[in-house]
Every structure is written in C-alpha cells, then in structure tokens.
Symmetry: C2
Subunit: 251 residues, 2 copies
DNA sequence: TAGTGGTCTAGACCACTAA
DNA sequence: TAGTGGTCTAGACCACTAA
C-alpha cells in the first residue's frame, strides 16, 4: 500500500510511540523491546518500516540492537574526560553539569600496546615538521571500561626525539612518554586539541565494537615544547556515545 | 535472490566501488553521482541495496542527497572554532593541523534573536543554583555561514543578574552579555565547556537543515564569576560536519 | 513534465544467540 | 533448535526539483 498524501510518516509514528513507552517506563534501561516481527503485527507495518523506526531511536542513542537477541533500551552513563585535570581539580570541583554526571569510579584499562617504527603519513609528517623519508615511532593502544572498548589512541613521536629512550619500549617508565621527552630536552609546555565528530568507518566500527549509527569523536592532540616545535601528535578515536568531553579555561 | 553464505556484503561492495571512484576523481567535489536507478542497473542490485550503499557513504560524510535532484559529492571545509582565542593568537599561530585547515574568512551571521523570560527546565535550574519557580532570561539565536545554518545557541541568565540591564534587550551593547554581567558585578572569570556528540533529533535536523545521518555536537558552556557562581549557561547545537573544535592549553 | 530521492509493501534466507 | 536481527529482492507511489 502506498503512502497517503499528507499523512504523517509511518516510521516516525512508530518511533514516537516506542519512545514514549520507553520514557514512561514500560521499557526501562536494559529492557528488551518486542521483536521486530511482533512490532510488525502490533503496528500493522512492513518489516522495513519497523526497522526504520528502530533505526531512528538508535540514532538518538536510545536503543541498541544485539544480533540474534533483540533490541534493548540503552543506559547512557558517560565517561568524563577532563582535558585539563590539574587546573580543574583545585578551582572547579566536580559539580555543575546539565547532564548530572558524577565522579567516575570506573577504570580505564589498556589492552596492549603496539609499537612500530615506520615512515609516517603525509599529514603526520607535515605537522611534525619532518620529510617523507623520516621515520617516526607509533605507539597505538585501545582502552576499555568494564571490558567495553571506548577509545583507540595512536601516538606519533619523531625518531630523533625517541631514539635511545624508553619511548621505543612497551614500558616507558614513570611519567610516561612526556617525562621521557622532558628528560631528552623536549618538555611539552603546551597542548592543542582539535576535535571532529563524524560517523565511523567500517574498520573503526569493528575496532571499537560500535553499535550501529553511533558517531565517533576524532581527537588530535599536539604537544609543543618551549621552542614551539611539535614533539608528539596523538590521534584518538572515541566512542562518542560513551564520552563527555570537558574543557576548563580562564576568561 | 538470498545472500550467498560467506559472500562479502553487497552494499559494502557497492559503497567501496563508489568511494574509490570518488577518490580517483571520477566524481570530484560537488559532482552528481549516477541516479539510484542507474546504479541499480550498473551494479545489478535492488534499490534497497543501492540505498544502503549510498547511506554508508553519507555516514562517512562523503556524499549527500538532495531530494528530487540526486546524490552529490560533498566538500568538507570546516569552520575552526577556537574556544580560547586570546591565548592562541599570540602563542600558537594558525598552522599545525593534520586536517590542513586554513584561516577562515567566511562570516558567521546570526539570523534573529529570540528573548524569553520564563521558568527554566530542571537541569538549567540546578546548575544556576535556582529554585523551580525562579525566572531566567533565555536568549536564543541561530548562526549561518554562507547562508547555511551551522549552529543554534541558547543562553540562560538568572533574572536577578539580568534584571534592568540590556541583557533583556535584543541589542546588548558593546561587549555583549559578558560586559553587562561584569558591570553588574558578576564578571565571568572562568569557563567550562562540556561536549557531547550524538545523532540529532528530528527537530534539530529541521532547525539546522542537516543532511541525513550527520551528527551534532551538543556543547554546554558555563560562565563562573569570581565567587564560583554560575552566572550564565549557554547550550549550543552544532552541525558536526561543519566544525573543527580547537582547545589550546598550557601543560 | 520528466526525472529524482524518500518511503513503503511483503516477502526471503543468512549468521548468530540463548536455552 | 527455535527465535532474533541483518541483509536482500522487486517492485510501488509520493513530494519535490529543474528545465
């Protein structure tokens, strides 16, 4: 049956109905929705239309699907990433958010570091002020919270800065990469963070086990030493549905 | 015809093919792709499958559809939003980005301010330290670049701070809301910005005329005076596909 | 007015889940 | 092994665009 002219969109009607039922508590966080086939009967619509409605709710971050199991109501409990921890700790405290976030007691766990010594891509080469033939060290790792992958990080350091330091090893020692750079005379004095938000590629979806239609944040951090040289570039991909990004700064 | 077991996903094959053709320059930025019906013939697939492929490319920000006209290759030219302009101007300069952004000469134009005097919602009330019955001033406006809406901003100021000042008028005078707050003895001394990234609601899609499946950034800025009181909350919705958000800070 | 993307129907088979 | 979401077929009519 074709659409009646002027009629409200069928899939939106179904999405609105389900959203209301979720908000009213008929389906609390974690609950399973009726199966697609059951919704087809209940709302007298075709499978594709019901899927479109569920897809709209997924886009809003309200529900997620698990293959072979069903559609579930999602609970959003964000990880608060505070880019300027030191500054905020003494001056701001932890309160004040319209999203009512609380102190985060969950642990961020890395699941293995990959260290590579390779020529960098053209973008990385350019911001590090290197030439195409120069080698860089790439330190890549994935982070998980409660066993769920939330973040992929890849750090790039020019060879002439990392050479002969523990930056080239799995365990970089106390203070990590930045402490080693400081010892080598390239202490990071300031940082820049550039953020983009977009839909993930297929490989990013696999890597972070993203539920369909979850956006990612692409966050690139540049570390500058006292001379203004970029001594490290860190490119991160975050599961946007799990993060609240926080920046505190003076007027 | 059903799927062959183990076969690569048909819609991904088509998406990969089109992506390669775009990257190789067969379809340059701004170009129109073949129609859906033409692609159905060319790739011998059904309409739904071709749409799924185009949808995947749209999710990556590579193409966008215009009703009644066709699918077009998108050109991404980000607006660089630097949260700490003063700091960055003297110390960082404008270079250094893996996205090769350049100085932005396009103008950000507001298309009308709505000023309302109303009781705020529970989240706003809480962060402003008010009670449910208190009134606030809400200043809402939309911003456009080259005629394209990119940002919706809604600023909330407690009545006892705005009362009797030009904050309650369309033209707030030189220095804007923050200058008026300073004159009233509530000068903003520091700021917090909280960012979330998610898919837009239906009304946000309309308001910002978002191409399907473009995420938004929900950015909330809190302004604190010297006593630590929140004197203003500004909730912004950004078209994520058009923005690069930049934060500079010391080590 | 011819052509376009948007929505919708009514099915089918697949890999996967959970008991 | 019964049931689930994921993908796919092969059509249809609609509002809208652009000439």
């Amino acid at each position: 049956m074709p659409r009646k002219p002027g009629a409200p969109l069928r899939y939106r009607e179904i999405a609105d109905g389900l959203r209301r039922r979720i908000e009213e508590g008929e389906f609390p966080p974690g609950a399973r929705l009726p199966t697609e086939r059951a919704l087809v009967n209940e709302y007298t619509a075709s499978p594709g239309t019901v899927r479109a409605a569920l897809g709209a709710l997924r886009d809003e971050g309200l529900v997620e699907s698990r293959v072979g199991s069903g559609w579930y109501v999602r609970s959003w409990r964000p990880i608060v990433r505070n880019a300027l921890k030191r500054l905020s700790a003494d001056q701001w405290g932890e309160g004040n958010s319209i999203w009512g976030v609380d102190i985060d007691d969950r642990e961020l766990v890395a699941d293995g570091v990959q260290i590579e010594h390779l020529p960098a891509g053209p973008e990385i080469v350019q911001v590090l002020g290197l030439s195409e033939s120069d080698l860089v060290w790439r330190r890549s790792r994935r982070y998980l919270v409660d066993g769920v992958p939330v973040l992929r990080s890849a750090s790039y350091i020019p060879d002439d800065l990392a050479h002969g330091t523990r930056i080239t090893q799995v365990d970089t020692g106390p203070g990590g990469v930045y402490a080693r750079l400081a010892e080598a005379g390239f202490k990071p004095m300031r940082f820049r963070e550039d953020l983009r938000c977009r839909m993930p590629s297929a490989s990013e979806m696999d890597d972070l086990q993203l539920a369909g239609s979850t956006p990612v944040v692409e966050l690139v951090r540049y570390a500058y030493d006292a001379t203004g040289r970029v001594v490290e570039v860190n490119r991160m991909i975050l599961d946007a549905s799990r993060y609240l990004l926080r920046y505190d700064f003076p007027s």
